[in-house]
């Protein structure tokens, strides 16, 4: 299974990354290669992201109706489920529709993670391991070993300056804030506000632990995510609409 994963996904990505890095000036080759490959992968997965965002948006728009059902049927969970399925069917929305594009992307992200880390080959064992994944090509050979210096970063070492951690955490918060609809339900609001803070904090923490090639990938990915959401949803979403709770509540009352 691991061999198949390497053959089909990981090896092409590692070799692509290294071939790409050989195109750039040695001083910034691998940093630029990470950025370009992340952009390519994000652009290639735009149809999936678009689908995911649309499903998420549709689900969010249905929240007032769902809340109505929850109030109406109280603790009868079976009835709530039945009614919710009816509502989804009427609206033509698949409740797990926003999940599968994410699941499809997940292996791609894992492969990208692995290819960055393996290509960086920070230790002799890592470099030996990298030799098992490479194609026989002069371009690949010239890229080995990669120059891990990029701007102020050593991509093979964690960034001690906190700059990258703040950038990763900040962009992640913005990206999440753009899509997280404030809920009228206090419990849900508490959960989503926790998530909104915790994810950026966790990734900020990871940034200080992992070789900075990986946080660079997260940062670029977040920035592209923000841009994609801005284009697809036509604005800053909930980042600039914190009053969505109050606007959602009258709409729900009106329907009642």
């Amino acid at each position: 299974m691991a061999d198949l994963w390497s053959l089909i996904v990981l090896d092409p990505m590692i070799n692509g990354l290294l071939a790409l890095s050989s195109l750039f000036p040695k001083a910034a080759e691998f940093g630029l290669a990470i950025i370009i490959l992340t952009v390519v992968v994000r652009v290639a997965s735009t149809p999936l992201v678009r689908r995911q965002l649309k499903s998420t948006k549709a689900m969010q728009e249905m929240q007032p109706r769902i809340q109505e059902l929850q109030k109406k049927y109280g603790k009868n969970k079976q009835k709530i489920q039945q009614e919710m399925m009816k509502v989804y069917k009427e609206a033509g929305v698949n409740p797990i529709g926003c999940m599968w594009p994410m699941l499809v992307q997940f292996p791609i992200w894992i492969a990208l993670y692995q290819s960055i880390m393996k290509s960086l080959a920070t230790t002799p064992e890592n470099l030996l391991d990298l030799s098992r994944h490479l194609y026989s090509s002069p371009r690949i050979a010239q890229a080995i070993p990669v120059n891990s210096q990029f701007l102020w970063l050593d991509l093979g070492q964690p960034d001690r300056t906190l700059i990258l951690a703040i950038l990763v955490g900040g962009t992640m918060w913005v990206q999440q804030k753009m899509t997280t609809a404030p809920s009228a339900d206090p419990r849900q609001r508490s959960t989503s506000s926790t998530m909104l803070l915790m994810m950026p904090l966790m990734f900020g923490l990871f940034t200080m632990m992992f070789p900075s090639g990986l946080p660079l990938f997260w940062l670029v990915s977040n920035v592209i995510g923000i841009a994609t959401q801005y284009v697809i949803t036509g604005g800053w979403g909930y980042l600039k609409r914190p009053s969505a709770v109050s606007s959602a509540q009258p709409a729900a009352r009106k329907r009642r």
Binding site: I110, Y113, Q114, M117, K118, L120, T122, T123, P124, E125, N126, L128, S131, R132, S136, P138, A141, Q142, I144, P145, N147, P158, R160, R187, S190, T191, T194, M195, M198, M199, M202, F206, M208, M209, F210, P211, L214
Partner: protein, 396 residues
């Protein structure tokens, strides 16, 4: 509150899973074994320099015996961002120890070079004992970049390549820095060659540089290839033999800007080749061992010897035989003339590899016995004549 805890736990699980999927591990070390004055010295996987007496092992004494055996644990300050206070961790050792004027010199991956006295380490005295010639470079808490290649000792100096791209020359008696070269490009993970007034270094960015022994300045000659060099160089009759990331073994005559020849393998020539009587024996990560005519670059065997697994540790000539160990733990004794050989059998299970451990580290021979440190942190003794694993000793 419960939801928040669940969210936290979920995020932690995701984080740990992500880190597990990264496919990258920290340094493990693969220090080799060297023999000096009847004692074997090596770095262990748990950051110790260990001295083993084959004579004491033959007598079945408990380790360490008083027969010159000891183990010296090297601790380094933790580099983790989240470590508290003055926490320390075991050092990582890739460098094979080198005997120098009755002492043992070893480079540490964590950025130190150490000269240790076997007599003082056997007595477990505080390190360093300056009066015995022990030293540490740099002193105190200072470190240089990672050291992977082995040091080379001459009468008055120790030369070592460093990951900061420099070669360091240290006074053999006191460990003072005599000079450090200008950066020679990317990190240097190789062992230099010292020949008369010159030091030859192969680099990851595809150069072979000649430096002055006196002051580390670059001498007029250097050689440049299109790809980086993966192995340490070997000098034989004014020709340097070195493996490259372009999967070729290069022969470069000193003074020439063109290779004498290039020999293509199926992967990198990672380990240092062995040159004996005009023949280059080179292990390759494609799992094969090649015998190549040093003058012409022609393969000498009808076909290369296939071990079936990458050859990371340098081959070793033992009498009339070539001993080769593969990454999977198989050990072979090869006839260097014909290129045919036998696999040394596993004592317990013939189906298994010779030893049940990866072999990455260089090995040595003493009195017809080959000593190999496996990545399982055991020292194996191999009787070449009998094609038998004699014994193993835990270094932990």
């Amino acid at each position: 509150m419960r939801i928040k805890v669940l969210v936290w736990v979920g995020l932690l699980v995701v984080g740990l899973a992500a880190s597990g999927c990264l496919g990258s591990t920290g340094p493990q070390g693969y220090s080799g074994v060297v023999s000096s004055d009847g004692i074997l010295y090596m770095g262990s996987a748990d950051g110790k320099v260990v001295a083993v007496s084959p004579a004491a092992r033959a007598q079945g004494l408990s380790f360490p015996s008083s027969d010159g055996e000891w183990s010296f644990a090297i601790m380094m300050p933790s580099k983790s961002f989240f470590s508290c206070g003055s926490s320390s961790v075991a050092a990582n050792i890739y460098s094979t120890p080198v005997a120098a004027n009755g002492l043992i010199c070893v480079g540490i991956y964590d950025g130190k070079v150490m000269m240790v006295s076997p007599a003082d380490r056997a007595r477990d005295l505080p390190f360093p004992q300056m009066r015995s010639g022990e030293w540490i470079y740099p002193r105190g808490d200072d470190v240089i970049e990672a050291i992977v290649g082995s040091a080379v000792a001459t009468d008055d100096s120790v030369y070592v390549c460093c990951s900061d791209g420099r070669v360091y020359a240290l006074d053999i008696s006191y460990g003072d820095e005599r000079w450090r070269s200008d950066p020679l490009g990317a990190k240097l993970w190789t062992t230099p060659v010292v020949d008369g007034e010159s030091i030859y270094v192969s680099t990851f960015d595809g150069h072979i540089y000649a430096l002055s022994v006196a002051n580390g300045s670059r001498l007029p000659w250097s050689f440049e290839a299109e790809s980086g060099f993966s192995s340490s160089p070997v000098l034989y009759e004014n020709t340097i033999f070195v493996g490259s990331f372009d999967r070729n073994l290069y022969a470069v005559r000193i003074g020439s800007d063109q290779p004498l020849w290039k020999f293509a393998g199926g992967n990198w020539f990672w380990c240092r080749p062995v040159v004996e009587e005009g023949v280059v024996y080179a292990g390759c990560l494609d799992g094969k061992v090649y015998a190549i005519d040093a003058a012409s670059g022609k393969g000498l065997w009808s076909r290369p010897f296939d071990t079936g697994s990458p050859v990371v540790a340098s081959p070793l000539m033992v009498g009339e035989s070539l001993v080769v160990a593969s990454d999977s733990g198989d050990i072979y004794v090869i006839n260097p003339t014909t290129g045919t050989g036998d696999r040394i059998r596993n004592r317990e299970n013939d189906e298994e590899s010779s030893i049940e451990s990866q072999i990455l580290a260089p090995f040595c021979e003493q009195d017809g016995i080959v000593y190999i440190r496996g990545q399982d942190n055991y020292l194996y003794s191999v009787d070449v004549a009998r094609r038998d694993i004699k014994a193993k000793l835990s270094l932990s």
